[in-house]
């Protein structure tokens, strides 16, 4: 499946640790309440995944257009 060849580049598999750690630490510096920390971390995690996903999608579409 050539469409998913980008996943064979190993460095993409290091992204989850970045998203989890940054979301958790950032949220915990904004709140003291655990449920609030978890909710804020979830929101930041989804924002980062969406942002990175949009960049990935843009790059993928740009390769199709070429």
């Amino acid at each position: 499946m050539n469409e998913f060849i980008f996943l064979s580049a190993g460095y993409y598999w290091h992204l989850p640790i970045l998203i989890v750690m940054v979301s958790l630490v950032y949220s915990a510096t904004r709140h003291d309440d655990w449920p609030t920390i978890a909710l804020e971390a979830y929101r930041w995690g989804t924002r980062m995944i969406s942002f990175l996903g949009m960049i990935g999608l843009f790059l993928y579409i740009s390769t199709l257009i070429q």
């Binding site: 290091h14 970045l18 915990a28 510096t29 003291d32 909710l39």
Partner: protein
């Protein structure tokens, strides 16, 4: 979950602990230690684990050779000239700016300062009896190999260590002044 989900305000607006400079210094030395000293043990452990895992994972990706301070004594000195003033940047930082952020992770990044103060990368110095060559500037040839022959993990690794250092600045602030209250931000936005 939609993006309009509201974050509930923290139930206790009055802090049950005393943030301050002492906690900030402790959190600078070891991430999360300031929060632990203030009685916020779970939160301190969260910071300690997250930042240290992130920092050491970054070093692991870089084959333990992406946190260092070079002497760069044979390279030209860089100067900033804002508004006519001339500011000389030390070569160790101008040729390794990443360390400016890695430094904030605290004691975990200190071996680099020790190696920089004691050993010169241009000379063939023996390994340190305790640290070995940990966080010592690798020779130029080795750095070129790491950057050209690896799968970009070396670069990704230093980015992770830099982010870990920057995250710890927020942790230090949390220990110094407590968390930035969500309500205050909301008020500021409404006024703007």
């Amino acid at each position: 979950m939609s993006s309009t989900t509201s974050i509930p305000e923290d139930s206790n607006t009055e802090l049950s602990y005393e943030p301050g400079l002492f906690g900030a210094i402790l959190s600078f030395l070891i991430p999360g230690l300031g929060q632990i000293s203030q009685g916020r043990i779970a939160k301190g452990l969260l910071f300690f684990l997250c930042i240290n895992i992130f920092f050491y994972y970054g070093q692991f990706l870089g084959q333990w050779k992406n946190v260092y301070l070079p002497r760069a004594k044979n390279l030209p000195v860089m100067e900033l000239k804002p508004m006519g003033f001339s500011i000389r940047i030390p070569n160790c930082l101008s040729y390794r700016m990443q360390y400016g952020a890695q430094f904030w992770v605290g004691a975990s990044a200190w071996p680099a300062i020790y190696q920089w103060s004691k050993y010169d990368e241009d000379e063939d110095c023996p390994a340190d009896p305790i640290l070995g060559k940990y966080q010592r500037t690798p020779p130029e040839t080795e750095l070129n190999l790491l950057q050209n022959r690896s799968d970009r993990a070396w670069d990704l690794g230093w980015v992770y260590t830099v982010i870990a250092g920057l995250l710890n600045i927020m942790v230090i602030y949390d220990a110094f002044a407590g968390p930035v209250p969500a309500q205050k931000n909301k008020d500021t936005r409404n006024k703007g």
